[in-house]
């Protein structure tokens, strides 16, 4: 009887996490989402993936189409607000929910947005600061040198800097090589990269040069937008660097083709 109680308490203590895949992971790199779910489960969470999720609304919002972004934000809030925690493998989508939904919405929806914001976390923040239990990860099959790209929204809206470095150190024994100009934007910026390609090209060219200058074999990051941008530039320039989401490293999924690499 006593044992059963303990079990129940333990089960009750498991954090109920709603996982928001983010559209770029859904479409371009599902392995990032599966790796994230694995990490969350290892950290003792019950993970649910609400099936009706699509996109957080950033493209419309950042392009100034608030009228389209508002119903998307409401859709996301209604879909996720039941959970103890919402976790996403992207700093910019987490920033969208935490900082921009409350600005975008009014009245009751604003209150609901603020409540959702309070329990929404980017993956590395959740694993490092919130979950309490570090996932054990999986020993890496090889020991690459790794540089880390800090996505702007994560860095400045959510203060993500130490968390991914700490996880890589503790779980993989990797000490990150730092980029020069690490606080500079990679030039992705959502639709910016396609609206102002030449300027974006200059910015991503600079970012890639700084990544190459570290001599790292892998450039990791927490935002697929940035990573697709930098990986695409690396392929264009013929630079030999693997670009990967940090969830892949933490799960030792580094023997699959990196972003933009052929199979």
């Amino acid at each position: 009887m006593r044992e059963q109680n303990q079990e129940q308490t333990a089960a009750a203590k498991r954090l109920q996490v709603a996982f928001f895949v983010t559209c770029l992971a859904d479409l371009f790199r599902p392995s990032v989402a599966f790796a994230s779910i694995k990490l969350l489960e290892q950290a003792g969470c019950d993970v649910t993936v609400p099936l009706k999720q699509t996109c957080c609304g950033q493209p419309a919002y950042n392009s100034g189409d608030y009228e389209s972004a508002i119903p998307m934000a409401q859709q996301v809030i209604a879909l996720l607000e039941w959970a103890d925690y919402v976790v996403l493998p992207s700093g910019s989508c987490a920033g969208m929910i935490c900082h921009h939904y409350p600005k975008l919405l009014d009245d009751q929806w604003r209150d609901r947005a603020l409540q959702l914001a309070a329990k929404t976390f980017e993956l590395t923040v959740f694993l490092n600061d919130i979950a309490g239990v570090k996932p054990q990860g999986k020993p890496l099959s090889r020991f690459p040198t790794v540089a880390y790209h800090d996505g702007c929204a994560g860095l400045r809206e959510l203060g993500i800097k130490e968390q991914p470095r700490n996880l890589l150190r503790e779980m993989c024994g990797i000490e990150v090589s730092e980029l020069q100009q690490s606080e500079a934007c990679c030039g992705f910026g959502g639709t910016f990269c396609a609206k102002m390609p030449e300027i974006s090209g200059k910015m991503v060219g600079d970012k890639l040069s700084n990544a190459m200058a570290t001599g790292a074999q892998i450039l990791a990051g927490g935002d697929l937008g940035c990573l697709l941008n930098i990986a695409g530039r690396a392929r264009r320039e013929g630079q030999n660097i693997e670009v990967r989401h940090i969830a892949e490293l933490l799960c030792n999924e580094i023997d699959t083709p990196a972003i933009g690499e052929g199979s």
Binding site: P30, D65, A194, G262
Partner: protein
């Protein structure tokens, strides 16, 4: 100033091809943030002071009429003339009238972005006056017939070699070659000193107007402001109405943020307060002094959704930290104010129609807001301007409709998952071998600069739903 913001993309493209200038901008992108970071790190009160000054600025703008009235009253008591100018033309005519009343032929001018906004120099020159810019950077670009590319360092775009060639072409140098930078400075100083002594009217700007005593405050590193203010018989201070602050200590509090943010110094070489004309006991100073306070849409901005922009203290930190500004330089923005602050101000002071590209020259990276000493949420203001463009249908139709279509689909999850799965599966089949596309229909903006990474075989939703089905069986 004539506006070329509508050709921002072409201007930017030309600037990116100017490799010499791009190299200098790359250096600014590295060193300016380092200097600012060091200055702020050595000043622990920075963040607290930033909040304090923000409250003061908000308070002064909330009670702008009151403080402008107080300033006017005190300034008149000090013996100044105070003029209010509705727009640029108004300011220019007031200044010209003053010059003509004194039969002035020569004007010594300190650095002033406000008079760039009103094209004062061209206006006075058309009336036959000789106007000489006395800030070194402004002097250089005046000689070159160019406009400022930075609000603090107007000749930032020019190399020492270019300046040497310019002086060789414009000055009577004889056999002198001006080999070192210090020779260039010496040469300009020589020319300017003569002008200071001959000028009948001096024109300067102001970093703040102080309501309690009717003084204006100005910071410079060259001391040219003081020479403009003290040597000619008449002094005219041109600035905008939003510069007014209640107390002298408010102005000095703002100063401590301004200088660190602008140049990384703890203090500029010269910080001057101008009270009014020479008093009987004074040995020097101007005999007559004027303030011309420009509105030029500030009242409108104050009453609208972008009023926080009036809290800008013109330090230039947002320019130095903006990846777009440091890629393309100031001239690409096509008007007086470049960078993030300029991309907000230009549409407000001219029109959104003429400056449609500027609010889009932003990745929302947030670095400008992070360093802004006035705590202005620049990326939010830029996004709000993009919203206005969207509402007014100023943005390109293909983007507007594309985003609407995406949003429409994203609100229909089942359809979204089906449609995206088909598209992704096709993309994967086409791109899996190489791993990325060097060209792709409808993605020309992306693929002109980088490959388009191919997706993994299936979407997450396809795989995940299949997993659930399997578990159910």
């Amino acid at each position: 100033m004539e506006q070329h913001s509508d050709s921002f993309l072409d201007n930017a493209s030309a600037a990116l091809k100017n490799t010499e200038q791009a190299k200098r901008l790359d250096m600014i992108a590295v060193f300016a943030p380092q200097m600012r970071t060091a200055a702020v790190a050595g000043f622990k009160e920075f963040d607290a002071l930033r909040d304090h000054v923000k409250r003061i600025r908000q308070h002064s703008l909330d009670h702008l009429e009151h403080y402008l009235g107080q300033f006017e009253h005190e300034a008149v008591n000090n013996g100044n003339h105070v003029h209010f100018a509705r727009d640029g033309e108004d300011l220019n005519s007031i200044v010209l009238d003053i010059c003509q009343q004194h039969d002035a032929r020569r004007i010594a001018k300190g650095k002033s972005m406000v008079t760039e906004e009103t094209s004062l120099n061209a206006f006075l020159q058309r009336a036959g006056l000789q106007v000489m810019e006395t800030d070194l950077g402004e002097y250089i670009i005046q000689q070159a017939g160019e406009t400022p590319s930075h609000i603090v360092a107007p000749a930032l775009h020019k190399s020492a070699d270019e300046i040497r060639q310019l002086f060789q072409a414009k000055h009577d140098l004889g056999a002198r070659e001006l080999p070192e930078t210090v020779d260039l400075v010496g040469e300009a100083r020589q020319v300017l000193r003569e002008h200071f002594l001959k000028a009948e009217v001096g024109i300067i700007g102001a970093n703040a107007l102080i309501a309690e005593n009717g003084y204006s405050m100005l910071v410079t590193n060259e001391g040219n402001g003081d020479l403009c203010a003290n040597l000619p018989r008449v002094l005219i201070v041109c600035t905008t109405i939003d510069r007014v602050l209640p107390l002298a200590e408010d102005a000095t509090a703002m100063l401590r943020l301004l200088v660190r943010s602008a140049t990384g110094q703890s203090q500029t070489s010269y910080t001057s307060f101008y009270s009014g004309p020479r008093r009987e006991t004074d040995v020097d100073g101007p005999l007559e002094t004027h303030f011309v306070l420009l509105d030029n849409k500030r009242s409108e901005i104050l009453a609208g959704d972008y009023r926080e922009m009036l809290e800008c203290i013109r330090c230039g930190a947002c320019l130095n930290h903006c990846p777009i500004y440091t890629s393309v330089g100031g001239h690409a923005y096509g008007w007086v104010y470049p960078g993030p602050m300029g991309s907000v101000l230009t549409p407000l002071l001219t029109s959104l129609e003429q400056s449609q590209a500027l609010p889009n020259a932003c990745t929302s990276c947030g670095r400008c807001a992070e360093v802004c000493p006035a705590n202005i949420p620049l990326p939010d203001l830029l996004r709000d301007l993009r919203h206005e463009e969207s509402v007014k249908k100023l943005s390109a139709p293909r983007w507007r409709f594309g985003l609407k279509a995406h949003a429409w689909l994203a609100r229909r999850p089942s359809m979204y998952h089906t449609v995206t799965a088909i598209a992704i599966n096709v993309l994967h089949l086409l791109g899996r071998k190489r791993g990325s596309f060097s060209r792709l229909p409808l993605a020309g903006g992306w693929t002109s600069e980088r490959d388009f990474p191919a997706p993994q075989a299936k979407t997450f939703m396809q795989l995940y739903k299949a997993q659930i089905r399997q578990n159910d069986e």
